[in-house]
Amino acid sequence: MRRIIAVVRKEFRQIRRTKAYIGIIFIAPFMQLLIMGSAITNEVKHIPSAVLDLDRSPHSREVIEAFKAVNLFDYLGEVQSRLEATAEMDDGRLKLVLVIPRHFERDLSRGIRPGIQVLIDGVDGNSAGITLGYINSVLAKVQHDWALHTAGQGAASINLIPRMLYNPNLDSTLNFVPGLIGILLVMMTTMLTALNIVREKEIGTLEQLMVTPLEGWQLIIGKIIPFTVLGFLQFTIGVLAARIIFAIPLRGSLPLLYAMVGLFFLSTMGLGIFVSTITQTQQQAMFVAYFIIIFMLLLSGFFVPIQNMPIFVQYLTLINPLRYFINVLREIYLKATPFRYLWREAAAMGGIGLTLLIGAALRFHKRLG
């Protein structure tokens, strides 16, 4: 016990002396959270669009007005020809063009079902799909009104009333900010723990420690404690920033949240420490940690929902603690989900953490060979 305390004290003293830590732990992540939390959204907005009206009839005008009213589209005006439309899209100046064919109104009244062409820049397939969805929705409404009008009284109409739970304004920050906090935490806890231990390897103090009666697991615990404290500090700043800057209130249980964070740290630090047992220099440790972190970020469900990934990749994400953590954060923050539905994630993070830590402790023989 005394030995662990000695290690903890030393670590805290060293941390206090390293000025760079203040920047790395508090300022940089905070700034990143600020910038990226405010910036990123995968909502589809400000789509530069135009219309090619080859009919110039009252009905085509009606369609155009409905189109212009959608404020997700930045209506830039009319184009005069298909050639112009295509050139503008090639250049990237237009992403969406509605083409109303000649004889639109005439064909409409004759029941011939004319087709409105929707030219979409499909480079971003996802945005294209969403855009198409909106167009469908807008034009379906126009359709609805016309159909009612034509059919007169006695026409049935179905009215869909949507109600958005947890996020009525469809604000994507609510979705992203918790995830961002998780991402920033990963980078700090995993990398710093790995570097810390490898540095001791490099300067030779680890060898010195091996000659003392200090046990491997005592060293590990002694190292984890200070970084966990720092991690909680960083997390708290994130929570405060979420509340104050992004107005994201915590709807769920605060103790549960922190308990989950603790489990998460178990896994990230276990990872960091394990990395330190398989590398010899700080540079190597950084490489390995680097690639692991990229893996954790991209396959976490933050950028792309996991259920969209191919099956074998989904299996891979099962060993990614960040995946569970981001889930947990979102659930507790937005839906106030209780532990009952989160035990799987908790078990996963805890299990991963313990496995890695035990693995690291085993590798820590106090022998060089």
Binding site: S137, L160, N308, P310, R330
Partner: protein, 367 residues
């Protein structure tokens, strides 16, 4: 005096070839990343779990339900006559939305009145939420038209998707992924270069010699540029073949642009290491400065046009942003130099700026 750049370059190349471990990693990592993330990252929508509460229980309501389940999009997880607690349903993630069919649905439909269907959506993923809303809107509109049987006043919507007719996500992501991998590798390459120098202490030797700082910096950047460039070509060809993303434009043009971009990544890394005090802080900074902005603010996944204006300016200083526009333009749209010269110029400008500042910072270090 004859330039000593060839000598410096030659030495670096020997170093690189000797360090088999790093070389191996630098050549295989990008391929692995391409394979893994290329397959993993797809936004092709999967089925949404929907629960239907049918308070009507009539042939009409059942027809509506059939219509919903026949779509590719919705998967009906349960049909019930009531629901206790929507929260629990959403928390347990058994369904993402609930459709309520009112008791008087059939009567309204038959007698030509308005039937109100309530759709409660778990909006914690706002994008999915609006998708669900729009799609269901389309379904109910079609159901309505089917019921009323009118053909007049109907038009159809014919989507023409440019550049990516199947709206696959691969064409969108693969070029972006290539850009991301390249900048990540470049950051790594620089750290190899700098660390090697510092560890062997040869930096001191160089500084004492008559070699000019500019020659040192350029001599360092060159061989790693080559390495990064080779990496880029490998993943470009691989990505194009494996994920079926044919290069519409000129391959040569892409290659040239790639060269410029690799230099950007490298010079950024070198600048950071030159002005940093401690080497590990330098590496940490270089890494955190490249990963997040390149992933989040470059248009890789999150559209820049959707960002608030102020932050769109921020993405304008992320080099990856420009390269992604360039590579998507050339690969998917078949753009030529005429369409992308602006972005190329910016990248070139960034390169020159970074290298110049590095040289200056290096000189200051000497004094």
């Amino acid at each position: 005096m004859k330039s000593s750049i060839p000598a410096i370059v030659g030495k670096e190349i020997v170093h690189i070839l000797r360090d088999k471990q790093s070389l191996f990693m630098v050549l295989t990592m990008p391929v692995l990343m391409l394979l893994l993330y290329g397959y993993a990252i797809t936004l092709d929508m999967q089925r949404i779990n929907i629960m239907v509460v049918d308070n009507s229980g009539t042939p009409q309501s059942r027809e509506l339900i059939r219509h919903v389940s026949s779509t590719d999009f919705f998967r009906i997880s349960k049909v019930d006559s009531g629901i206790h607690d929507i929260n629990t349903l959403f928390q347990s993630r058994m369904a993402q939305c609930v459709l309520f069919i009112p008791g008087d649905y059939a009567e309204s439909i038959i007698s030509g009145r308005q039937a109100d269907l309530q759709l409660v959506i778990d909006a914690s993923d706002p994008n999915a939420a609006s998708f669900i809303q729009n799609y269901m809107g389309k379904v109910t509109a079609e159901e309505m038209i089917r019921r009323n049987g009118t053909e007049a006043g109907l038009f159809s919507i014919e989507p023409r998707i440019f550049y990516n007719p199947d709206m696959r996500s691969a064409p969108f992501f693969i070029p972006g992924l290539i850009a991301l991998i390249l900048i990540l590798i470049s950051a790594l390459l620089t750290s190899i270069a700098i660390v090697r120098e510092k560890e062997s202490g040869t930096m001191e030797q160089l500084l004492v010699s008559p070699v000019k700082p500019s020659q040192i910096i350029i001599g360092k950047v060159l061989p790693y540029t080559l390495l990064g460039f080779v990496d880029g070509l490998i993943i470009l060809v691989l990505g194009s073949l494996l994920f079926d993303v044919p290069i519409q434009g000129s391959f040569l043009l892409v290659a040239c642009m790639m060269l410029i971009y690799v230099v950007t990544g490298l010079s950024l890394g070198i600048l950071v290491s030159t002005i940093s005090q401690s080497q590990s802080v330098a590496m940490l900074a270089a890494i955190t400065l490249t990963i997040l902005p390149s992933m989040l603010m470059s248009g890789f996944i999150f559209p820049i046009s959707s960002m608030p204006r102020a932050f769109q300016y921020f993405s304008r200083i992320v080099p990856a942003t420009y390269f992604i526009e360039i590579i998507r333009g050339i690969v998917l749209k078949g753009n030529g130099i005429a369409q992308i010269y602006r972005q190329a110029a910016v990248l070139l400008g960034i390169d020159i700026f970074l290298i110049t500042v590095s040289i200056r910072a290096f000189r200051i270090r000497l004094e």
